[in-house]
Subunit: 289 residues, 2 copies
Amino acid sequence: MSAHSRLSLNQGTIKHASLAEALHVSVRQGLQSIGLWREPIAEVGLERAAQLLRDSGLRFSSNCRAGFLTSPDNRQAALDSNRVAIEETRVLAEAGAPGSSATLVMVAGGVPEGGTIEDARARFEEGIAELAPEAEAAGVTLALEPLHPMYASDRAVLSTLGQSLDIADRVGSSAVGVVVDAFHVWWDPDVEAQIARAGRDGRIASYQVCDWQTPLPADVLLARHLPGDGVIDFARLTALVNAAGYAGDVEVEVFNADLWAKSYDDAVAEMVQKFDAAVGEHLTEFALA
Amino acid sequence: MSAHSRLSLNQGTIKHASLAEALHVSVRQGLQSIGLWREPIAEVGLERAAQLLRDSGLRFSSNCRAGFLTSPDNRQAALDSNRVAIEETRVLAEAGAPGSSATLVMVAGGVPEGGTIEDARARFEEGIAELAPEAEAAGVTLALEPLHPMYASDRAVLSTLGQSLDIADRVGSSAVGVVVDAFHVWWDPDVEAQIARAGRDGRIASYQVCDWQTPLPADVLLARHLPGDGVIDFARLTALVNAAGYAGDVEVEVFNADLWAKSYDDAVAEMVQKFDAAVGEHLTEFALA
């Protein structure tokens, strides 16, 4: 088996796998890169996780995820959890194969009970401003991920690339980047201009792909599909990301109950095939930075 | 009973009512204005609908809805259906009490099977450009309604106020306006600037209010709630709409299975009360143009 050289499995796609299982199936299916989630890392501890990653020979494309900085309660604990995640990201990027990326995906958090979206957004930005110097010192990128507006109330008050780049500008740190996730941005009338802007500013930390299909499932968190199974125009989005100069790993991050019910090998093999058909042909080959 | 002088019942809030029932319950509950849907109008015919409206003494705040101009198939039929809706709107605005508004709500339509969102958006804009001179001649405003991006694939490729105002600028007709619907725009990081822009350009044709709450129901079309029952900051949005100079009717348009299960009187009485508490206090009194 081989897979596209820039394809990375985001572990969320095989959510029930342990870290070791996710690494093994990735190698077996010919992948060169993986994006990890914090919970499976925590299960074995950071040192062991780094060893397993090193042994796999895979690149590390991102650490999912930190952030959740919109609540006025337990502020210090939220910031400290992000500090732990920054350190994890530094260690794992060093343990991964050459071309690994010290990218920490940041999900904003929702509107707190009784609060307003304006206040929540301001609080998130304050948190990023506080963490950015520490991320910079660690060589880690805080990759702000705008989520689809249907998650704005309960998960992420960060809703567009433009908003994320505005925050990056105001914070003014080179450690602040953005995630371009097709599922979250495909509908945005401003997506072309904002991907170009993100490229000009050197802020594209990750390109993630999964597809949008309706009707939405009862749990909209599980609304994602493998590339090619929905309505997103990956040829266009990928061309925009290419033109913006992004040449790193491309993660497939699909939360889907049917996919999770398959064997890890079957799920990853299907991902490899559908990625090639829908996205891979539009990408340039992976080039070491 | 009396209700806020600017409150208008959008008939979708009591979906199962006939036109006559909707008019009667509105009068009974002390409302001064109503927004109608095309299907109940069609049930009795336009002439009879106009007579019933005239007899009610209510203002007419909008005709819901036309548009659906994104498919390359049956193009002429889609345009002709919009022409019928323009004429309906003209007639009903004349039949309504002084202060009625000849506003036709335009929902874009989704991404056609096998098509792209870019093409669908271009096709919608072409349709608006074709219809605008006819609307202008009839004294009717084509009120472009951006819908929440979770409907972008299957219902409306028009997703933001900014995008709608860009179309209005390019079409260049005074007959093109926009709907500011709280449910659809509350998450938009650019909402403040775009409401102000819409006001400056004289394009706010309608302000609609309903609330956002999670978790979303299995059918996301029924995700709407009465104002105050969710997370939307109506004080802020209403202040923005006031500041933009909008002084017309404010429609409550809620699609909600629980509300539809109530008696029309109970549903409208609850709407009147919740509107007052969440929105009414932030509005100025209705002033005839």
